[in-house]
């Protein structure tokens, strides 16, 4: 490449290529080289920003006695002004993304440091969620003004942290989280539109569902056993979103599909034991209890969106797991009337899913799918092993069947693969 660029003037001189073509070639190489170095520089810039920012916060947290209140206050806002100057400069001069990402990261932590230190100077007691809310609100515009991926990721992580602190340890509904996510959504969607296989899109396709999954439970204070039913509806929605052609056809897998799939199976396995259905329906102590109406409305909305997605994109890559969307509510209603029947049906559903997945894996010669199906059956069998009301003979036979099935299924796939050597690309 270097020799080609060196030869360009000669080629133009001898009329082999036009001057326009020469500049085009130069530009092409310039554009091709830059992204690589830029990404590395950006990553270092952001890491440096995070380390420096955290360093500032930790140094201030030491809290020197020798400094007067005025000096402390000055020190509290100094990093803020420096970071703001950097950010302002990179906007005015339209500097590269390296500058903007670094400035955004530094400024993010400088804002946190300034509020923290003032709180320390005046012994302001911690309402930690309120502190995080102020911090996040003051930094949300940076995502758009500096077009900063680092700020978007930091804000997503801190928003999730806020929801968890408020929802799980203080039992307040973290309503601000909804605003934070709504504010970050245009940035996320914009990146999905312009570069759906870009690094940032891949990262956010995992962080976003993880954040939603954590925050969802933070809103469910007071839903008692119904929490499981609501989480199931949420997981099914997540799974169905991940199965949409847009997400399913990406080069890298998304968290929507992975968390959805794993979550649905885990919840199903949980409720394969009778006492879980007793807990969920309240049959254990109180008889069936009334679920607050707003939870039922949210639940219905989740199911409705799921259903719309499923029927609108029928031809997409939905697997048999999508039916959990409707099967689970049916099981729930049955459990209200007859818990033992619901428990038996739950076990049959898991069994059917395991077998269907194994069949799917054999048909597609796909080891991962095949062994996921076997794993589901193995876990189901193990859980049943601890249910004392099943006789040892039946339990033993179940294990034997799963064990033999594991060998047989893998053997069939290996044998089939040998017959069709060109199918190895399916493996992962």
């Amino acid at each position: 490449m270097a020799t080609l660029l060196k030869d360009l003037p000669e080629l133009v001189e001898n009329n082999v290529i036009s001057p326009q073509t020469a500049t085009d070639i130069e530009r092409y190489y310039a554009a091709r080289v830059n992204p690589q170095t830029n990404i590395m520089l950006t990553i270092f810039g952001v890491l440096g920003g995070i380390l420096a920012g955290l360093g500032i916060i930790l140094i201030f947290a030491h809290n020197w006695d020798n400094f007067s209140k005025t000096i402390k206050t000055g020190l509290a806002v100094l990093p803020l002004f420096i970071a703001q100057a950097l950010a302002g400069y990179s906007i005015l001069k339209n500097k590269s993304s390296v500058w903007k990402e670094t400035a955004a990261t530094l400024l993010f932590f400088a804002v946190g440091a300034s509020i923290s230190l003032v709180a320390q100077i005046y012994n302001i007691s911690g309402d930690f969620p309120a502190f995080l809310t102020t911090w996040i609100l003051l930094c949300l515009p940076l995502v758009y003004l500096l077009n900063s991926n680092a700020a978007a990721i930091l804000l997503l992580v801190f928003s999730t942290w806020y929801s968890a602190v408020a929802g799980y340890s203080l039992w307040e509904r973290p309503y601000w989280y909804l605003l934070f996510i709504a504010a970050l959504l245009p940035f996320y969607i914009g990146h999905l539109k312009t570069g759906k296989n870009s690094n940032l899109a891949v990262v956010l396709n995992w962080l976003m569902p993880l954040s939603l999954l954590i925050a969802f439970g933070a809103f469910l204070k007071g839903a008692d056993g119904f929490v499981v039913v609501m989480y199931m509806a949420f997981l099914c929605l997540m799974y169905n979103v991940g199965s949409l052609p847009f997400f399913a056809n990406l080069k890298k897998q998304t968290g929507y599909l992975a968390f959805g799939e794993l979550g649905i199976i885990i919840v199903l396995l949980m409720v394969s034991a009778q006492y879980m259905w007793l807990e969920i329906t309240g049959n254990m102590q109180y008889g069936i209890y009334a679920v607050q109406s707003h939870f039922i409305i949210i639940w219905a909305v989740l199911l409705l969106i799921s259903a719309i997605l499923m029927f609108r994109y029928k031809s997409a890559t939905f697997s048999s797991l999508k039916w959990a969307t409707f099967l689970f509510p049916v099981l729930y209603f049955i459990a209200m009337v007859n818990v033992p029947l619901a428990t038996i049906l739950t076990n049959l559903v898991i069994l059917a899913f395991g077998i269907l997945t194994i069949r799917n894996g054999i048909n597609k010669l796909h080891f991962r799918t095949l062994n996921f199906g076997i794993l589901v059956l193995a876990v189901l069998t193990t859980i049943r092993f601890f249910d004392t009301n099943i006789s040892f003979a039946i339990r033993g036979s179940l294990f034997l069947i799963v064990g033999i099935g594991f060998f047989a299924a893998n053997y069939i796939v290996i044998k089939k693969k040998k017959e069709q050597p060109d199918t190895h690309t399916h493996e992962n």
Partner: protein, 187 residues
């Protein structure tokens, strides 16, 4: 042209970012310089905060009040009227659900729980930040101090103005806790 608008939006954001801590400084400085100072009896103990450093946690005695009204929800924001008792310490005289108009000093508190005629409240100030290292020493030396006989009670100096409060110092054995720790180091 576009850069100009982005920069203006950034300038507004930057002003807000600077305004937040400076407003906190202003409000609290006004309370410290113009507010009334109350002494709240307390026990200092030591934990830590990830962002703000080490502090002694203040465990106040004045957090229970006999009330006639029995309708109190947990975690409700209410107003506590302050006065000074015969020994010179702060005393909560009444709790109201609406913000007091004029006259009396008051603080904004959160209800904790109501039981058998007594309302337990959480005071809005329970931290006194100290230099790293001194916070633990402060707790240790206070524990030793409290075991001795005929000790003077420890208390926090709290400036109060229109509901806003700032803990300005914690006094152990008649002197600021910082000096108390230093004196103990020399002993």
């Amino acid at each position: 042209m576009k850069t100009k608008y982005v920069f203006i939006a950034f300038a507004v954001t930057a002003l807000l970012q600077a305004f937040a801590p400076l407003k906190m400084v202003y409000d609290n400085e006004m309370t410290v310089s113009h507010g009334t100072v109350y002494k709240f009896k307390t026990e200092p103990i030591d934990p830590s905060d990830p962002f703000r450093g080490k502090y002694v946690s203040l465990n106040f005695e004045e957090n229970i009040l006999r009330v006639k009204d029995t309708v109190w929800q947990s975690n409700e924001q209410v107003y506590a009227l302050l006065s000074i008792n015969a020994a010179g310490f702060a005393k909560i005289t009444a709790i109201t659900k609406t913000r007091p108009q004029t006259g009396n000093d008051y603080i904004v508190v959160k209800t904790n729980y109501y039981f058998d005629g007594s309302l337990h409240i959480n005071l809005p100030f329970d931290r006194f930040y100290m230099e790293e290292g001194k916070a633990q020493e402060a707790e240790d030396s206070y524990r030793d101090y409290s075991r001795q006989e005929n000790t003077k009670p420890a208390y926090a100096l709290v400036a109060v103005k229109e509901g806003n409060v700032v803990v300005t110092d914690v006094i152990v054995d008649g002197q600021p806790i910082r000096n108390y720790v230093l004196r103990k180091r020399e002993e």
